[in-house]
């Protein structure tokens, strides 16, 4: 019979806390960078310029189909062979996860923009608005309500994906826990704690997403 020893968790609680902070920090940075690049890509894909839109199309299709883990390992181990740079594990993870997220954000934003009827755009044109004004004042304020719940869903996935960074030794929650296991051999307690910690981080995000979705539904009901 296995003897559970939960005292180990309270002894090393700071290790879990630090790991969780690194996970959150990594996710936050990825979310910010990925969203900015993703929005840029969405507009590039919609642009009439052939080169820009083709580039965005290839980028999005390519990185949506790549497994994140493969991308991560490739950037960390293979990329330095071609370029005269050495990436720290954290930076490599940041780049790989951001690239992955940006491809998904681009599609979400594009779909959100395209969900707004084309005549909303034309009504702006007919009154003399420029492209930027129509986007910022007419289309995006309406599209954002469709985009935000989907974006939050992507961020949740990204938080989970950040655990993959443990493979290249980024000191996030899972990696630190693995080291702890190799020192204490209390595998069951530590992995259980890891699972609970992830749950604590993700559940609030899930509730926020639900809240936005409900508000959207309420709004649609009114119309």
């Amino acid at each position: 019979m296995y003897l559970w020893d939960w005292s180990i968790i309270s002894t090393y609680k700071y290790i879990f806390l630090e790991g969780a902070l690194v996970t959150l920090w990594l996710t936050l940075l990825v979310a910010v960078i990925g969203t900015i690049i993703g929005i840029g890509l969405a507009f590039m894909k919609r642009s009439e310029d052939f080169i820009l839109s083709s580039f965005a199309k290839i980028y999005i299709e390519l990185f949506r189909s790549f497994p994140v883990l493969v991308l991560l390992i490739w950037i960390f181990y293979v990329l330095p062979l071609f370029l005269p740079i050495r990436l720290s594990p954290f930076i490599a993870a940041l780049i790989a996860l951001s690239i992955n997220l940006s491809a998904f954000v681009a599609e979400t934003v594009r779909a959100g923009i395209e969900s707004i009827p084309k005549n909303q755009f034309e009504s702006g044109l007919a009154l003399g608005f420029g492209y930027g004004q129509i986007m910022s004042k007419i289309i995006l304020p309406q599209a954002i309500k469709n985009i935000i719940p989907n974006l939050l869903g992507l961020y949740i996935t990204e938080l989970k994906n950040s655990s993959l960074a443990s493979v290249i030794a980024v000191g996030e929650l899972l990696h630190r826990s693995n080291i702890l296991i190799s020192q204490t051999y209390r595998l069951l307690e530590i992995y259980t704690t890891v699972a609970i910690t992830y749950l604590i981080m993700i559940l609030p995000l899930v509730f926020i997403t639900k809240y936005f979705e409900n508000r959207l539904k309420q709004k649609l009901k009114n119309i």
Binding site: A126, G128, F129
Partner: protein, 397 residues
């Protein structure tokens, strides 16, 4: 050139799909300051395209558009952005911005495009709202307005930028007959105030009342232009007289049902009108499109049909052996022969008593339209209008 001409279009042509679908062919017109021009003509004739070109929403392939000697548009030259700031277009389906209140909808363009002072823009917007009886709606969102109110707000929104020329594209066709009056009244006031306008309309009486000049457009060309009375009196062009005849008899003999819901209601309604144990003959080519449009109501329709024991017979245009059979057994069918000129436009026709029913399905994405005509002569002109040949059929022996 006389200085009071505000908008001039010279020989403009426009086609879609890289020249495959011609829309406008060598159209010229000029609008004087304070003048109102009505564009009339059959659907698909190019009225809306002309209006969109003049409003700067479409680029033209050939020709020139000149606004007040200041702005010029041609295929390659001209600042279309600057041009658009001086005109405005009101759409058939309002296109109000749902996330802004009525007042914000109206003031947004003056604030962002004209860079008017906020107080001034609001003052002008409120003046317009008061003038057109909408002041109490200023803080409502568009979703809480009726169709007529929405369209009036849309017109006010277009007016708020003080356009040199205002374009109105069938602004009443999406509205209930009851709500149309309020919009027409507004347009009349604008005409009286001296706003230069070009509008597309199907209300001939209204056009006669408000327009200084009427332009009849068909197949991308101006067929006739001048004063309404003149056009009607002269009736040189058989096409125009047909069109006028058909459209002016709307109220008396013609009922039009648009969209799926009305289509379904009509089908079930007409079944109720049929006597028991009778036969409904349908001529046409709609096939699957009919079933698709009936949607969930198909079961209800069939149930009613079985209850009343109404026989349903479909006759295709091409005289297949089956059609011939039906005709031989039912001599009353030999009275009419209806043939569409282009088969791409699926449609059904049938005659019940002295009423002719035409169901047009159009492209798969189109909503079905039903036209019920209670007068044979009017029906004939309509059939011509929809490219359908109507002739007394020779009996089959």
């Amino acid at each position: 050139m006389a200085s009071n001409i505000i908008l001039e279009a010279k020989n403009i042509s426009k086609s879609f799909n890289n020249g495959k679908i011609p829309a406008l062919d060598d159209v010229s017109l000029s609008l004087k300051k304070g003048e109102v021009i009505c564009l009339i003509g059959p659907s698909g004739g190019g009225k809306t395209t002309l209006l969109r070109c003049l409003a700067g929403l479409e680029t033209i392939d050939k020709g020139k558009i000149k606004l007040m000697d200041k702005f010029q548009l041609s295929k390659k030259e001209g600042d279309i952005g600057q041009y658009r700031k001086n005109v405005s277009l009101v759409f058939q389906d309002y296109n109000l911005w749902p996330h802004k209140t009525v007042l914000e909808n109206i003031t947004m363009a003056p604030l962002l495009v004209q860079h008017t002072d906020k107080q001034e823009a609001e003052k002008y917007a409120l003046e317009l709202l008061e003038k057109f009886d909408l002041l109490d709606k200023k803080d409502s969102y568009p979703e809480f307005l009726s169709g007529g109110q929405k369209q009036r707000v849309a017109i006010i929104r277009a007016l708020a930028v003080k356009p040199k020329v205002l374009f109105l594209d069938e602004v009443t066709s999406a509205l209930d007959p009851l709500l149309i009056d309020s919009v027409l009244k507004l347009i009349k006031i604008l005409a009286k105030d001296g706003q230069s306008m070009i509008l597309v309309t199907h209300h001939l009486e209204f056009a006669t009342e408000v327009a200084d000049k009427i332009i009849f457009i068909n197949k991308g060309k101006i067929e006739e232009s001048g004063e309404m009375q003149k056009i009607i009196e002269e009736k040189k062009n058989p096409l125009i007289s047909d069109f006028l005849k058909s459209i002016s008899s709307h109220s008396e003999y013609v009922k039009i049902y648009r969209g799926r819901e009305e289509f379904q209601a009509f089908q079930i309604g007409i079944l109720k009108r049929f006597p028991k144990n009778s036969t409904q003959y349908v001529m046409g080519s709609s096939g699957d499109r009919w079933f698709e449009s009936m949607d969930n109501y198909y079961n209800q329709y069939e149930k009613l049909r079985f209850q009343k024991r109404i026989c349903w017979k479909m006759i295709m245009y091409n005289e297949s052996p089956l059609d011939k059979d039906v005709r031989l057994r039912n001599p009353e069918l030999n009275q009419y022969r209806l043939l569409p000129k282009n088969v791409e436009n699926p449609a059904n026709y049938y005659v019940t008593g002295d009423t002719v029913v035409i169901q047009i399905f159009g492209k798969p994405s189109d909503e079905p339209v039903i036209i019920e005509i209670q007068n044979e002569n009017v029906a004939k002109s309509y059939l011509n209008y929809f490219n359908i040949i109507w002739e007394q059929s020779t009996p089959i022996k």
